[in-house]
Amino acid sequence: MSTDETENILGEVTSGGDYKYGFVSDIEMDYAIKGLTEETVRFISAKKKEPSFMLDFRLKAFNHWLTLKEPEWAHITHPPIDYQNIIYYAAPKKKPQYESIDEVDPELLRTFDKLGIPLNEQKALMGFAVDAVIDSVSVKTTFKDKLGELGVIFCSFSEALQEHPELVKEYVGSVVPYTDNYFAALNSAVFSDGSFCYIPKGVRCPMELSTYFRINAANTGQFERTLIIAEDNSYVSYLEGCTASMRDENQLHAAIVEIIVKENSEVKYSTVQNWYPGNKDGEGGIYNFVTKRGICKGNNSKLSWTQVETGSAITWKYPSIILMGDNSNGEFYSVAVTNNYQQADTGTKMIHIGKNTKSLIISKGISAGKSQNSYRGLVKILKTAENARNFSQCDSLLMGDKCGAHTFPYINVENNSSVVEHEATTSKISEDQLFYCNQRGIKTEDAVGLIVNGYCKDVLNKLPMEFAVEAQKLLAISLEGSVG
């Protein structure tokens, strides 16, 4: 397939279509790092001493973004985001927020304790002046030397720009073009940092690669960008964990993840997302608008997205897979929990282009409180995709009667040799089940955790061990007090 063709298909499958209206903004600059103008973009790029191609890319993205309007089709509502009131580069920031630990919401402390986060870390998360705090500047990378021997590159995006500019140049924007959507354009203009990962031909990465993203500073938008490239006959399992400190105001998070999987290679990408969801009355919390997309470029390649989403006030996220290589395989496993006033609109897109391509979608939504939880999925089988297969299972679990679960499966088949199956269920945790657990001495709160973990088993099983344990705890914590 030619590059042009690919680009057309990419364009067709990825753009929402109705971003035609100009974005008019009253530009108001307090100081160089707040608000969004061409100046801001140049400032960020200069700060990071980026090669000129990166600045060009950013500027094109910015100019494109100016022509777009925020999408409105997701099943979510929120007050308008003031893009001029966001700090786009948070490196030179003031830190002290709390004088003493007594000022911190005890509920938050309890959550941290339950997660087993050490005190220093807790302080860091809450904005205490502790050295380990990571904002948008860098990504903690471990085992770098050992990986270096294998030729695996695992570093921050900024480092990659300095040390491997040719790789970045070749792949950045190749899976998620800046024209893709509103938030992708925004990210492409102002992304702060992120991770870069390159697995050379024939290398099986011997360890899980993991990064932790944190949002700490007040009023900081977080715009990471992750790029993963797996050359022929390679393998990597990549973990991303997200936590955010608690703030009254909403914070914007608009990340991009691009993954390229070549022939006979496999990439597993797992996320446990625990951004601050806002308080019980729906105040504060992260707006999480993320574009994650991978391409199974080579024949026999495989990509899986596994995500456990418990956080964020609003989640808008559709990790997608373009199955271009023949016999390529895409999997999406998702647990999305919403409680209180959280809103999640998440799902996946599986785009079948190559022959004998297969995709599997397992989505488990859990809604509690007054939250809204939507699954939105697209399975698209193109003419070229002989014998394509898809199976989708979308389950919803409702807790209480004030929440909502919605399923929007879109199926688009252009090749009639394909088989597409979709199953959906909706269930509740019954009084019978809770009483059965209670009768065995298990508290209702723990019973809910147990039942929910059972319900999510098919997804949790896909996570690496230590992540699965964290995810289980998170599920229990995020649903606390939602039954009984």
Partner: protein, 251 residues
């Protein structure tokens, strides 16, 4: 150990238990029989603290304290176990995980440390033998897709794991084949000791051949209307409940 006085309970405003009295001492086995819908399962639920039933009068004294304001899990951890007439399915939760949560909840309640994984698995193995529960079954989700007999065995297995001082077996014999009935009954007999007591709810005399009761009660219209020894069960088997109903209504 258990004393129920003048117990009255409603569901959705309808009175089911209408002034029920029952006294059980340590080490005793009491059988409760009675026509369908007479309130046997309701009694077990109320003893276990199921909140959908509203207790309007009376008291339940267990180990010398009134337990009516304890939650279901507190009662369980105090030593009350209910083998359900219709065991509940919990998809995705293995029996192993479920029991681990239960055993450790009880230990926590008694201020003991949680069992280590290896001690816990040892305990599982030992108790599995008692009711001949296979390992492939305990790795499956709680009651999901179990046959009727497997569900009942699983209840007795859980009882063995939790070592209650009062166990209420609600029609544990129904749905069991002859061999399974013997296995389950033997299990119960092995667990019997001078300190624990059983309430065995059944419709059939044959279970009582295996688990021999000290007393037999007839529950009818929300009350214990007749009590006797094991011979009463034989008499009921032979004559049915009509004579009891007549006696009750002519009172």
């Amino acid at each position: 150990m258990l004393e129920i006085n003048n117990l009255r309970a409603n569901i959705n405003g309808k009175e089911i238990l209408k002034g029920l009295n029952l006294k059980i001492k340590e080490g005793e086995v009491h059988a409760i029989m009675g026509p369908n819908g007479s309130g046997k399962s309701t009694l077990s639920s109320v003893i276990a603290g199921r909140e959908i039933f509203e207790v309007t009068a009376g008291e339940i004294i267990f180990h010398n304290k009134n337990i009516l304001n304890l939650t279901a899990e507190e009662r369980a951890n105090e030593g009350i176990f209910l083998a359900f007439q219709y065991p509940i399915e919990i998809p995705g939760v293995s029996i192993t995980n479920f029991m681990r949560a239960a055993v450790n909840a009880k230990r926590l309640y008694n201020k003991q440390e949680a069992l280590s994984a290896s001690d816990f698995l040892k305990l599982m193995k030992e108790k599995q033998k008692l009711v001949e529960l296979t390992t492939s079954l305990v790795n499956r989700s709680v009651n999901e897709g179990f046959s009727g007999g497997e569900k009942k065995k699983n209840e007795i297995f859980q009882m063995a794991m939790l070592e209650p001082s009062l166990a209420v077996l609600d029609e544990t014999d129904s749905g069991l084949d002859i061999d399974a009935l013997r296995i389950v009954a033997n299990g119960v007999n092995k667990l019997k000791n001078p300190n624990n007591s059983y309430i065995v709810i059944t419709h059939y005399q044959r279970l009582l051949d295996f688990i021999v009761p000290d007393f037999v009660h007839v529950l009818y219209d929300g009350q214990i209307v007749k009590s006797g020894t094991k011979e009463l069960a034989l008499e009921l088997e032979e004559k049915g409940y009509d004579w009891i109903k007549d006696e009750y209504h002519n009172k």
